[in-house]
Each structure stands twice: as structure tokens, then as C-alpha cells.
Amino acid sequence: MSRTRSIRRWVLIAVSVGTALWAVAQLSAGIVITNSPWPVTGFPMFKNTRSVAYHTDIFVTTKSGQTRQLQPHEFDLPRMNAAFKHLYTTPLKNHPPVATPGGKERFGRIIADWNRRHSGDPAVSAKLQLKVFSLDKDKKGVLATRSKRISVYTPVRWP
């Protein structure tokens, strides 16, 4: 019985030490790292003020002349956001987006992957399109009328 108690005492001490370390890591990460939700801290997304919002899409024109908007399942991805990463950047706040240094080459590889999966009717041209919505202080009106404030950019093209 005393042996069980002794083991339990050591278990509680070990758990206490682990808890202290975890609590310090959780609080420190939450205070210092505010740009990544994994693995320790919570969910700091939406933390910044925003003056614009984006709709990002990839369009291809295929050999048969069809224009298609690419979907995540065509790449076996759950969402398209992984495909948009590292392709474009906005060098200055509210300035038009431009391709990253390796963006064009990466875009070419993405389209090559799509062509491999759609060899029957491959893409002959492709573009990354960004619709930029202005979110200025004048919030009157509906999305449709605010479309006057929508700008469309094509920072990356293929070939």
C-alpha cells in the first residue's frame, strides 16, 4: 500500500512539473508568437486590421478552348489556399499584388500537375486572378454596389 502511495506521489510531482512547463509554454507562445495557431497557442487569426479582402482563383484555358476555374479536389487538396501560397505578394499595403521571385516557376509546376491529371484536355494557358475588395470606412451599400470598388489583378500567368 505504501509503495502505491509512493508511486502516486511521484506521479503527482511529475505531472506538476509537466503542467508548470506546459503552462509557461502556452502563455509565452500566446504572448510572443501571435502569427501561428499551432502547436501551442490558440487561434490568433483575424488579428490584423484589414482595408482590403481577396478572392483568389486560378483559371485555365484548355486545349479544347474551355475556360475553367480550378477546384481543390482536382489537386486532391481539401482547400485551394495551399495552391495560392508563395505565388504573389503585396509589397506595400494597398498596392497591387505582384508575383514573388519564384512565383511564376511555382505556378508553372502547379499547372503541370493539373495537366498531368487532365492529359485528355490539358491547359494551354493559365492565370492567377485576384479580386481585391476595398473595405474602406464607407461601409454603406451592398456587395454588388461595392463591386465598383473591386479591382482585378493577374499577378502571375502561364506560360
Binding site: 506521479v11 503527482l12 505531472v15 506538476s16 503542467t19 506546459w22 503552462a23 502556452q26 502563455l27 500566446g30 504572448i31 501571435t34 495557431p37 499551432w38 502547436p39 497557442t41 490558440g42 487561434f43 490568433p44 487569426m45 483575424f46 488579428k47 490584423n48 486590421t49 484589414r50 482595408s51 482590403v52 479582402a53 481577396y54 478572392h55 489537386f75 486532391d76 487538396l77 481539401p78 482547400r79 489556399n81 495551399a82 495552391a83 501560397k85 511555382r106 509546376r109 502547379i110 500537375d113 475588395f133 473595405l135 461601409k139 454603406k140 451599400g141 451592398v142 456587395l143
Partner: protein, 430 residues
Amino acid sequence: MAVIVNAWNRFWFPAVPLRRLAIVRMFVCGFALIDVAATGYVAKVGDANKLFYDPLPIYKVFQKVIGQNANTPVFLHAVQVILIVSLLLALVGFATRLALIVAAPLYGLWWATYFAYAPAGAHGRLAVVIALLALAIAPSGRAYSLDSLLRRSRRARPGESLPAFVDEKDRLAGWAIRVIAVYLATAYFLAAYAKLRNAGIGWPWGGAFDAALVEKHTAIGSFLFKYPWIDHIMAGSALLWEATALVTLLPMSKWINRRLRDGWVLYGLTFVVISEFVLDINFMGWVCCYVVFYNVEIAADRIKELAHRFGDRFGRVSVLYDGGCTLCVRTASALQGLDWFGRLRLVNAAADGSQPAHFESDDGHSRVRGFRAYRRLARALPALWPALALSYLPGVSWAGERIYGYIADRRARVGACAIPETAAQPASQS
């Protein structure tokens, strides 16, 4: 020093009923089980081009351990199957600790894999990983589980009354619940801190919520975007809610603290629904962990009361067992644990002076023995309904009678059974 240690122990290691922790286990494992079963598409990312692969640092650690196969569809499907089995075992509480030790890292791996190919939308699962880890360390399988049922059944001794149900308290159970509660409260609070640090008090008007409405592009979100004042109220109330998350850690002995917690939780539930339909973000993992904020065993007692009242409408089934036989008392003890609706009246026939078979079931109209008695019991106990369905398969009845007879014939050799061998033969209805 002693004051600090005492305060530490009071906060982190309060003795709470094991039943409370068990209910938390069932909530968390139930959610994780449905979640993994419904997200088979995560395994599909194994077919995606490695061009899109952008793992988290913690995932790289996994990959070093597992090797390059970590990303293949075969590996990910195997992970899904192991996860479903281990979470199912943890849910019913069979080999609970082992099941949770397996499930916790694999559930983390599952969503870290998703995150490596879709860097958003998996935030709700991190709370579940933390909860599974805490549950694996704590004695979460010591109540409302097959493990506890078997343990209690092993404690049953011939000649003694069946072991009583003891509502045990445990400090490690309190620790696990506290860890999950602290994780939730600090994560929400730090989310508010991140917003206030980056955007200041004007965050609700700063466009972050508007941008989310536009970018997520849901039907309801696009509609709400027309009314900026609604967006700002929603953003402002969400910020206030996050910033006040620490109210959930206040001592709940005070009425006002309980009401604050209830208000906070109620808003949280509303927020989750809004997030799902307006922003297409799933926070269900966090919500299923809210169960740690409540003394849920009290609710379990009320449900049990109601269940017994409901069970009374269907009448009781008398079960006569031999209290002098180890196997019989163990079985009776296990049946008592499965009797959620209070349908059974367990009678120690040896003490009663009657001559039962090893198990007789009597529902007031007819009396059956042996395998048929088990079948009637299975009908009365919802926990055994899966077995009941199996018992009607062709040949099962025949095999069941023989297996019952085989075991019954041999139980006397242990020397613990007072019933004559002849009574052990399966009997037809009388």
C-alpha cells in the same frame, strides 16, 4: 513555500468525481471519433503534389520518426483505421489508457497532415489533442467504462452481496479537467490579446471581420456584409467574449460566477454556429471540451433517474443467480453495471433458498434459463442490443446453448458453485 504548494495543489489537483472525467472522456472521444470518420478526405492529401506540402515544425518531428511513408495514402488510411478503433475503445472505456495513448498523437498527426496541405480551418482540433493527452494521463477509464465494469466484476465474491457503486474522487481526474479548462480559457484570452495588441481597441471596426465575410464567401456572410453595423456588433461581441474567457476559471461556488460562466458558454455555442455558417470555420472541437466547465455527473444522475422512470414503464426482469458461484456473481455484477434503465431485479437465489440454474430470467410471464435467459437480458439492456441482434443470426442460438452448457458444466470444478450439474442444462420455457 507550503502556502504556494497548497495553493498550486488546490488549483491544479482538486479532487473531482471520476464519473465527471469519464463523461468528459466520452464527449471528447465521441467527437473525435465522428470527426475522424467524417474526414476521410484528409487521407486523400497523400495523393496531392508535394509542391503544396508545407508542414508545421511539429509535423516534421513526426515525419522524422515515421520516415518518408508518413505522407502516403496507404499510411494515412491506416492512421484513420487505427484512430477509429482506438477512439471507439476509448469511448466505451476498454483498455482506455492504451487507447488514448494511441489516439492522442495520431489525432494530432491526422490534423497536422491536413494543416500541411491546407494551412487553415483545423484550429478547432488542437483543443481535442490537448484533451486526449490529459485524458490519457488521468484515470479517465475508471468510471462509465468497460474497464470499470470488469474491475468491479472481479471484486465480486461468492457468498457476499454484489459490490456497491462507489462515487470515487480523484486528484488526477481534477487535474485533467483543469488542464483542459485552462487551455480553453487561455487560448481564447490570448486570441483577444493578439487582436488588441495588433489592432487596438478599434479592432471590431478594423475590417478583419468584413474581410473574413468577403473571403469566406458564404451565402449568409455575403448577406451580412450589406449591414456593417451587424458585422461590427458581431466582431465587438466576439472580442469581448474572448477577452472574458477567464471567467470560466473562477470558483464556481458563487452564484454570480456560475451565471457568468453560463453566459460565456451560451455565447460560445452561438459563436460556433455563426462561425460554421457565416465564416465556414469549424470550432466544434473547442465546444465539445466546454463540458469541463460543468459538474456533469449531476446531470448524469438526473438522466439516470429519468431513465429508471422510463424503464419502469416496461416492467422489470428478475434475474436469479447463484450467489455461491464466482462466475455467476461476476456476471451478475457486470449486468448490474449495464442496467442503465433499472430494468433488472438481481436475486441471489442461493440466499433465497430457491434452486436456480446459473442464470434465470423471469419477466413475470415466463421463466427461461441459460442462453435464452441471456437473450432476454440483452433485450432488457440497451447496452447489449448489438449482442441481441447477433444472437438471432442462424446457428448462434444452437452454438450459444452449447457454449453455455460447456461453461456451466465446468464451473463446478472450480469448487465455487453450489448448484447441481443437472440444473445447468439449458431448459425450455416453463
